[in-house]
């Protein structure tokens, strides 16, 4: 009864208490700290701090703060006295500890409660009666802190340490009834009732203003309750167009120095309506002058390099854009009106450019002129730069020079690598650009994610997509001793690099190749041997819709599909100390498996044989096989029952080649690794060195179109040859080139040996050859492997013709605009090939390269639920017709005629008569295969060869009892008795 009366009285007195959960409208707990006096603490005592967030004083006499352990039901009480003014704090000191160095400010109340330094409960109660339950109600305010606290508003405030307190946000005023949202952990900051008088902390005199330059000064205040409001004091005036905002920002542009210095009074009022004011002095100084030694266009000159390299020059211009390490400076319109000299230049500051270099400022720059070439790419063309020793503002808010609109004519494919030198550093514009290389990014292999860097490549609309072309790239020098007729690749000067992240505040675009972008404006930089637009923050370019993947055709029932897929460093979650592998997180590994399964099933249409490159080990490939098999069943499709084959090779990075074989259709004979221990002579050391980092793997298998059809034997060789990295290196390049040629010749000899031993062997050699379909000037790996080596006068390292009959590169069967599997800085190029020999070429039906990787931005790597960008290479699928023929020899009678000799044709001529002795009609065509034909005798009228044996075809069906006589003609120069075993098939081989 007594308690009820006291509570009623207090309610009348304060009219401010609220029940727990309703949120206090008067006094709240604004800070709790239990680490006082503990090891590492600054303050000697624990404390509880209160804050009056109302507009009225609150008398807390007869109130208490109470503390309960995190899960406790008993509470310790500290009694309060006195009044808290609006916007003011109230400090309750609690138990002292042995540690700490600093006393609290004078407390307004004192207790001896030893609070937990990590988790506990603090209540503000409008009485002094100890609470008795774990989570009491009817409180003024409550804070539960630390994850073990079992009572709180909403959710517990952050866990504490000896050096952190939970501090209510908003200077004590934030109260959303969620301890976790309202409090943040930070260094203890005890405040008492006398804390924090309102005062202006900005000091007079203010920084000087400059004539004709926008001035801006933000005033600061301390001790304010709530949000302070700024104003010019009554009776005071500001010069020129100066004004102060309610947020305390003084801005204006002086037009002269007359009247300087100016004196005025600024005032600030806080939430308690307390107002303070202060007197300020502002001086205006004349604008800086700039004694220009040469204009920007004179510094740029009309050539590729500045005529003032090494000279210290002073010039002026308008800042058009800022980068992280410099800014672009350009003469105001109309510039020098000389179309051959650029009016813009890059000022290289190394670190963030100074504030004076704000966009729109006219500045005076003094500094040394240089031509910058990246140390990592010494043959690169250079960029003219100024390294400033001073940057002085001349005027602000200047109109930027108009952007030059780039045209397809001046960026034509037959233009020179310096085609935009005349615009270097100037603002340029592209009205419509077609993306030729997708947005790049920084890959985190361990997490299987990528962060976009905003950089992509494009061509002005109307220009065809550029491809890598034969020859050594301009401007790379030819190696010493090069022959006379090496072709040169012009570097595709039609390419434009776009950096949507180069300027702070720009909108990053993640785009696919083929997307059209309009309204690109920004300064013309130069990087990675390519002219580069750094897009302005505004206006934001408009990007058309991104494209999705393009799947390969669904195979026909009678087709065998053989694919090559560089899976891009497909590592597992286990560290292998023998190699420098990447260890994926379980989530990253799972995501890669999911993406790859989507790619194999939905984009490649589950090929019968997949030659795999860049796979860490057999268990990882088996995991992929299991994933695909399982996903197929889950998607209500038949399981391909992929089996995995992989042999470890020599790669120090731990990647190997292998096979996934669809065991429902393909019967594996054997898988053999070749050249594991083969060496070549390193031309640098003269010593033997490992030749095959990823030795070729040869799969022999048979595939049949149906249960009774004759199987087709095939031999598939999967390869991953050495990369082009370092091929142009002036020091190591010869070793790289020598090794590349040796690998190509090793593979050529491997294939030729098989062809020679068995001309009918159906050989498919596929993989990432890291070589173009043509001579790159240093070597011609593909030409060597297919038996069409480049003549010695056109290549640094030539090969002999090692392969006969020649192979066919199936890439050559595609339309020209589809001959790519990779994108290097906007140059579409074919590094992956499927090569077939003449034995299987008649069975080749079609070839397709799936589009899911090289045209797609790195950001797509992050989405496990889409197949795109699982790798940097596009996989390819070759299609071959399988025999439909079945053996019907047991259903026929075969009779051969005598042979007449034709002296004109020098052939022995006769017939083989087939009679259907069965009860079923034998379908057309009927194939007559002459196996085990006597050595030295050949079938002159053979329609083809099956299993190494010649055959003739009769396009007729045979009803039961019906016969057909099939003509045969033999070349038998030895006039020997001919022996053969005749086999009869129905259907197509």
């Amino acid at each position: 009864m007594l308690i009820r009366i006291v509570s009623a009285l207090l309610f009348l007195l304060s009219a401010a208490s609220s029940v727990f959960g309703g949120g206090s409208t008067s006094v709240v707990i604004s800070q709790v700290y239990g680490g006082g006096g503990n090891s590492g603490a600054t303050f000697k005592n624990d404390f509880i701090e209160l804050y009056n967030l109302s507009a009225s004083p609150v008398n807390v006499t007869g109130w208490s703060v109470q503390y309960g352990a995190a899960t406790g039901t008993t509470w310790q009480v500290t009694t309060l006295t006195g009044t808290i003014q609006p916007g003011k704090f109230y400090l309750v000191q609690e138990a002292v500890g042995a540690g700490g160095t600093t006393n609290l400010p004078s407390p307004d109340a004192t207790g001896t409660i030893a609070m937990s330094a990590t988790a506990g409960k603090v209540a503000l109660v409008s009485s002094t009666t100890a609470l008795t339950v774990a989570c009491p109600t009817g409180l003024v305010d409550l804070v539960g802190y630390g994850p073990t606290a079992n009572c709180f508003e909403g959710a517990a405030a952050p866990v504490l340490t000896n050096t952190t307190a939970d501090i209510r946000k908003g200077g004590g005023s934030t109260d959303t009834d969620s301890n976790s949202a309202d409090f943040t952990a930070g260094a203890p900051n005890p405040r008492n009732t006398s804390c924090c008088a309102l005062s202006i902390s900005t000091i007079s005199p203010l920084p000087n203003a400059i004539v004709n330059t926008l001035y801006s000064q933000t005033f600061a205040v301390s001790g304010a309750s709530g949000t302070p409001t700024w104003a010019l004091a009554s009776g005071s005036t500001l010069p020129f167009d100066f004004a102060i905002s309610s947020a305390g920002v003084l801005t204006g542009t002086p037009t002269s120095t007359v009247g300087s210095p100016f004196i005025f009074t600024i005032q600030v009022t806080d939430a308690t309506t307390t107002t303070v004011s202060a007197l300020f002095q502002l001086s205006v100084t004349a604008a800086a002058t700039c004694t220009v030694t040469h204009t920007i266009s004179q510094i740029q000159g009309s050539g590729d390099t500045s005529p003032f390299v090494g000279s210290s020059e002073t010039t002026s211009g308008i800042v058009t854009a800022r980068k992280s390490n410099g800014f672009f400076l350009q003469m105001p319109d109309p510039g020098d009106s000389n179309p051959l000299t650029s009016d813009g230049v890059f000022v290289f500051t190394s670190t963030a450019p100074p504030a004076a270099a704000a966009v729109g400022n006219s500045v005076c720059v003094t500094g040394n002129i240089s031509e910058f070439i990246p140390s990592s790419d010494l043959p690169s063309p250079s960029v003219t730069e100024i390294a400033p020793t001073s940057v002085t503002v001349l005027a602000a808010n200047q109109t930027l020079p108009a952007a030059v609109i780039l045209t397809a004519l001046e960026m034509a494919p037959n233009s020179a690598i310096n085609n935009l030198e005349k615009y270097e550093g100037m603002r340029v514009q592209v009205n419509s650009l077609v993306v030729i290389g997708p947005t790049q990014g920084t890959v985190s292999e361990a997490n299987a994610t990528s962060a976009s860097n905003g950089v992509f490549y494009g061509v002005i609309q109307g220009i065809a997509r550029p491809f890598r072309e034969p020859g050594i790239q301009i401007p790379d020098p030819l190696p010493a001793g090069s022959p006379a007729n090496i072709p040169r690749f012009d570097s595709n000067p039609e390419r434009l690099r776009v950096d949507t992240k180069g300027q702070p505040g720009s909108t990053v675009l993640d785009v696919t190749a083929g997307t059209t972008i309009t309204g690109l404006v920004g300064p013309l930089d130069f990087g990675f041997r390519t002219y580069t637009i750094l897009t302005d923050p505004s206006p934001v370019p408009t990007a058309g819709p991104n494209v999705s993947f393009t799947a390969v055709p669904v195979p026909l029932a009678g087709e065998l599909t053989v694919a090559s897929f560089n899976m891009e460093r497909f590592f597992d979650t286990v560290a292998d100390p023998a190699v420098s592998d990447v260890v994926l997180t379980p989530a990253a590994f799972s995501n890669r498996l999911t993406k790859m399964s989507l790619a194999i099933r939905n984009v490649l249409n589950t090929p019968d044989i997949i030659g795999v490159e860049e796979m860490e080990n057999l268990s990882t490939l088996q995991a992929l096989a299991a994933k695909v098999n399982g996903d197929a069943v889950a998607a209500l499709a038949p399981s391909p029952n992929y089996s995995a084959f992989l042999f470890e090779g020599n790669d120090i990075g731990g990647i190997d080649v292998g096979f996934l074989v669809k065991s429902t259709k393909v019967n594996v004979v054997d898988v053999t690794q070749y050249g594991l221990n083969t060496t070549y002579t390193d031309p640098g050391t003269g010593l033997p060195a490992v030749l095959n980092d990823r030795p070729p793997l040869v799969l022999r298998a048979t595939a049949a179109s149906g249960a009774n059809a004759v199987p087709l034997p095939v031999t598939v060789i999967v390869n991953h040859l050495r990369s082009l990295s370092g091929v142009a290196d002036p020091v190591d390049g010869n070793r790289v080139r020598t090794k590349r040629r040796a690998q190509a010749e090793f593979l050529a000899n491997l294939i030729q040996a098989r062809q020679a031993a068995s001309p009918s062997e159906n050989i498919i050699s596929l993989g990432d050859y890291n070589a173009f379909a043509f001579n790159d000037g240093y070597g011609d790996s593909i030409g060597t492997i297919i038996g069409l080596p480049t003549p010695a006068d056109q290549v640094v390292l030539a090969s002999a013709d090692l392969v006969n009959p020649n192979l066919t590169d199936l890439t050559d069967t595609l339309a020209a605009d589809q001959r790519y599997s990779f994108n290097f800085d906007g140059d579409a190029q074919e590094l992956d090939h499927v090569l077939v020999n003449s034995a299987i070429l008649p069975r080749f039906t079609r070839f397709a390269i799936a589009r899911l990787n090289s045209d797609f931005p790195e950001s797509f790597r992050n989405d496990a639920n889409r197949p795109e960008r699982i790798s940097d290479h596009d996989p390819a699928v070759a299609y071959f017709s399988l025999p439909t023929a079945s053996d019907v020899t047991g259903q026929v009678k075969v009779v051969q005629s005598g042979l007449g000799y034709n002296r004109g044709t020098r052939l022995f001529v006769g017939t083989i008569t087939i009679t259907n002795t069965g009860s079923q009609t034998i379908a057309s065509p009927i194939q007559v295969v002459l196996t085990s034909l006597t050595s030295g005798v050949t079938l002159a009228n053979a329609a083809g060869s099956f299993g190494g044996s010649p055959f003739v075809t009769s396009n007729t069906s045979l009803a039961p009892g019906q016969s057909v006589a099939v003509p045969v003609q033999y070349s038998n120069p030895g006039n020997v008795i001919i022996n053969q075993v005749v086999k009869i098939y129905s259907g197509v081989f």
């Binding site: 009779v895 005629s897 005598g898 042979l899 007449g900 002296r903 003609q969 006039n975 001919i978 022996n979």
Partner: protein, 192 residues
């Protein structure tokens, strides 16, 4: 105008039952006066053949043999006398230079033992004429072989003898019985 091919099937006439003879007349008027070659051959097919042979009798040249011969394999005798050609090697051939007149004729007789039942191939008799270059067939009825007449002996010993013009044939079996209603004694010139 080329005449349609006339085939004669000696159905049921097996040489093992009794030798079978065929009289062959060839109209050579279109090449009369030129010099070329006559060619007789009797060869087995691939694999296993039952032994058999032919004889050439009553060679009536109507022209002039010149004695320049190429003889291969199992050939005995010389024209204009009788020839015997066995099928024991792959290429059994009698080839001799000859100056043509308006016609020539001969009797070919097929003979051999009973079929073994294991033979996989028969044997073929061919008669051809070649030009002086020895490689260009003359008056050929069968483009593949260049032959004028062909006689095939099957694995069952049955003879299939066939020719269109310009030759004519007469099958002579027991008592000179002619088999086949389409056989006519014709002797007329080849028309181009």
């Amino acid at each position: 105008m080329r005449k349609s091919l006339l085939l004669l099937f000696c159905c049921g006439m097996a040489i093992v039952a009794s030798p079978v003879s065929v009289q062959v007349n060839v109209n050579t008027s279109s090449i009369s006066g030129t010099t070329g070659n006559v060619d007789f051959q009797y060869n087995p097919g691939p694999g296993v053949t039952d032994p058999s042979f032919i004889t050439i009798d009553f060679f009536t040249p109507g022209g002039q043999l010149n004695g320049v011969r190429q003889i291969n394999g199992a050939v005995t005798g010389l024209l204009p006398g009788n020839l015997r050609i066995d099928n024991t090697t792959a290429f059994n051939d009698y080839f001799e230079g000859f100056t043509f007149t308006n016609s020539l004729s001969f009797l070919v007789t097929f003979d051999g033992p009973a079929p073994s039942g294991v033979a996989t191939t028969g044997s073929s008799f061919l008669f051809s004429l070649y030009a002086a270059d020895q490689v260009t067939p003359l008056l050929a009825n069968f483009p593949d072989t260049g032959a004028i007449v062909v006689g095939d002996v099957g694995v069952d010993g049955a003879l299939t003898f066939s020719t269109p013009e310009p030759a004519s044939i007469a099958l002579i079996g027991l008592g000179l019985i002619l088999i086949g209603a389409k056989v006519r004694n014709r002797s007329y010139g080849r028309k181009a």
